[in-house]
Amino acid sequence: MREELQKILAPFKGEKKDVIPMLQAVQNEYSYLPEEAFESIAEYSGVPESKVYGAATFYSQFYFSPRGDYEVKVCLGTACHVRGAAQIMESLERELDICCGETTSDYKYSLERVNCVGSCALAPVVMVGDDVYGRLEPKKVKEVLDKSASEV
């Protein structure tokens, strides 16, 4: 993994301001930040590993464990909230048997909340991968999951 990481970091100058872009580049590759990433970035940039880790934990974009094949993102923006997004989230949690922020044991689905995907006219909205499903009701949640799974 170290060599792979070095390859990912090579295009960067390794200045302090590159820390967040480097974390993003690593996550783009692995879909999460493996432990080795912090050490490599610290070494490459000279920024202490604690600071690198500190920056990573501050931002909601970064994940610290492997993600599922499908990222199920439930929009909990204001428009979705007033149109019942909480019930959609609960239905998904029940259907996938995981809590928001977790990944199913077969690494098929990860479930998370996001703030506004900008499709407020379709509220409540769920994204599976890049597909947007709008005007959802709790009973339609299973259909959405089945549909995304059939497209494997």
């Binding site: 970064f62 909230h81 239905s91 029940r94 506004c116 407020c120 379709l122 709790p138």
Partner: protein, 631 residues
């Protein structure tokens, strides 16, 4: 300089005119995030398919959003000699039919059309500017969105693009700052700080290097104005930032864009490359000797980074926390300790027009104290959700009733929320309020960056307050105690109220905590965090009291305070609720009245939706007497 620009403009115009005079029709498909979410890309495929099948020719372009989110997917067709006609709610099938009818059989299909642009149009199709949704709108910041191809610098130039920059380069930096100051432009990020004052203080600051930063880290959960501008008109932001660079003496700019906006980032990258190629950005711009370069920085997801000092920390590679007080102004010591000019996307994007058309033109729009227009993402329980732009000073009522087409399903209006997590909720009797920075602030809300969420009588205001506070609590950077602990305390009181554990005195405690947070925190996130709670207490105190005293949620939203029951007299025993219940909480024989086992019920509401309207047997109830009967 002018000569160089004239050549660029001439080339662009030539390409544009060739297209207009080629006799080839143009098909414009709304392909911003909202259009794509409703199937924009499938519609494009269908258009190509039909063209291929018929062996026809047309220029198919993806354009940004004209703001009619409720009517997506939008397809516009420009046939030679005809005005541009806009078609709404397109599906791949409908699009194929439309292409066949209009492009090949000259039938403009009034049945599918929303309206036509320009003065004259085919019979049966209304003028788009006279539709209720557009009549009161005034497009300044969004003037190009959905009209020009965001990936074509030529189209931007033909529509007066980069003329503001040219005028700017012909003047002295001081003159530019004066122009911005006399336009009385106020920052569109939320607080409405006079842009001219910021620019002037940056110009005066002495340093070896200065920076321009565009805040495109749109964080308000329920708003997408900045994204639409970036996706639909990226060059206007680039031009505005370049003008700012010249005015304050900076040669480097950063666009801090939310990483969740991949399309906006891609379009910005392309636009930056195009501008550099035409010498409108980069070294020695138009031979003026002025250098300006732009870099995109992807924000990694932190609401507090909307605060200027936190955003600067983030670009520098740190946790995005606001700098402690006392701190120098960002305009004096910002990025890497250098004077930094930080403005919102919409602020920069309107600057080119101010220079091009003059400060007086801009100042003549809107009101005395808040000139110009306001862009809102109008959403929630409203018929026509979308992106709108109105002159400042317009009444809230007009936005909601006329432009928004009133409340969904003819329900009753309850509140309108502006300003996102830093704003407030305004009730019915405030609907005559003019929309401008100062009036909204005075009423306990704020302009914010442009989220406007409409709520009907089925929205619980205590739940809404809890929702926003939950957001700010999660997003608090944790640095100062009043915000970190204060929002946690307020949230736990609101949780209690919503879950039936509210006590007398809770409202007073919330007010007291809110007041201390406002006074004690060090940044704009913290000292506006209590606003949603304070404004709902001010205008909807009775709802808080119902929750606390009667254990009742009048809007039937707060789960702990409602029960689902089946009315035995109405239940026909059809079994739909039983089959759909995810936790098998419903019992009953076929054709016999069913019952809900309250110990298993998770109150997901599926049975309530499933019960056919003709029975209406599943009932939602609230209040102490109903709750105690069931328990």
């Amino acid at each position: 300089m002018r000569q160089k620009f004239d050549t660029i403009e001439k080339e662009a115009r030539k390409a544009w005119e060739e297209l207009q005079e080629s006799g080839v029709p143009q098909v414009l498909v709304g392909a911003a995030t909202c259009g794509n979410a409703t199937g924009g890309q499938d519609v494009i495929k269908a258009v190509y398919k039909k063209l291929k099948e018929k062996n026809g020719k047309a220029v198919v372009k993806q354009v940004g959003c004209i703001g009619l989110c409720y009517a997506e997917v939008l397809v516009d067709i420009i046939k030679p000699g005809m005005p541009r006609i806009c078609y709404s709610e397109m599906t791949p099938e409908k699009a194929e039919e439309l292409i066949e009818s209009y492009l090949f059989n000259d039938d403009p299909r009034p049945d599918m059309a929303l309206g036509h642009f320009g003065e004259e149009g085919p019979e049966g199709i209304p003028k788009i500017s006279e539709l209720p949704v557009f009549k009161s709108q005034q497009r300044v910041i969004l003037k190009n969105c959905g009209h020009v191809d965001p990936e074509s610098i030529e189209e931007y130039i033909v529509n007066d693009g980069y003329k503001g920059l040219l005028k700017c380069l012909e003047q002295k930096p001081e003159d530019i700052v004066d122009e911005v100051t006399s336009s009385r432009l106020r920052g569109r990020g939320g607080a409405g700080f006079p842009a001219g004052r910021k620019w002037s203080s940056c110009l005066k600051a002495q340093a070896d290097e200065k920076y321009v930063i565009c805040n495109a880290d749109e964080g308000d959960p329920g708003a997408f104005m900045d994204r639409s501008v970036l996706e639909g008109d990226p060059h206007s932001v680039i031009e505005g930032m370049t003008i700012a660079g010249y005015a304050i003496g900076a040669s480097k700019g950063y666009l801090y864009v939310r990483a969740e906006y991949p399309l906006a980032i891609a379009r910005l990258r392309k636009a930056i490359a195009q501008a550099k190629e035409k010498n409108l950005l980069g070294e020695d711009i138009l031979g003026s000797g002025f250098n300006f370069d732009l870099e995109i920085f992807q924000g990694a997801g932190a609401f507090v980074c909307g605060e200027s000092t936190a955003l600067v920390m983030s670009i520098e590679g740190n946790r995005g926390m606001p700098k402690p007080l006392p701190r120098p102004r960002t305009t004096e010591a910002g990025l890497w300790g250098r004077p930094t000019l930080l403005n919102n996307v919409k602020t920069f994007s309107v600057v080119p027009q101010i220079l091009n058309k003059g400060a007086d033109w801009f100042a003549s729009i809107g009101t005395e104290g808040s000139p110009g227009t306001a862009v809102f993402a109008l959403t929630g329980k409203i018929n026509r959700s979308g992106l709108i732009e109105v002159p400042m000073g317009i009444e809230l009522e007009k936005i909601i009733r006329e432009i928004g087409g009133d409340i969904l399903d003819d329900k009753e209006f309850k509140a309108v929320q502006t300003g996102g997590p830093s704003g407030g909720c305004l009730p019915l009797d405030k609907l005559d309020l003019p929309v401008d920075f100062d009036s909204l602030l005075e009423a306990g809300s704020m302009m914010g960056s442009g989220g406007m969420v409409v709520m009907d009588k089925d929205t619980c205001m205590v739940d809404v307050a809890r929702y926003f506070l939950d957001f700010t609590f999660e997003e608090s950077c944790g640095q100062c105690a009043p915000c970190r602990l204060g929002t946690a305390q307020m949230l736990s009181i609101l949780d209690d109220i919503c879950e039936g554990r509210g006590r007398e005195g809770d409202i007073e405690l919330l007010l007291e905590l809110g007041d201390s947070i406002i006074k004690g925190t060090i940044c704009g996130l913290g000292n506006t965090a209590p606003n949603p709670v304070l404004s709902t207490i001010e205008y909807f105190r009775d709802e808080y009291e119902a929750h606390i005293r009667d254990k009742s949620c009048p809007a039937l939203v707060c789960k702990s305070l409602i029960v689902y029951t089946i009315n035995e007299e109405k239940c026909n025993g059809c079994g739909r609720c039983r089959k759909s219940c995810p936790v098998e909480a419903i019992i009953g024989e076929k054709k016999e009245p069913h019952k809900i086992d309250q110990s298993k019920c998770t109150k997901c509401g599926i049975c309530y939706q499933e019960c056919p309207d003709r029975f209406g047997a599943v009932e939602r109830k609230t209040g102490q007497e109903n709750l105690s009967v069931v328990n």
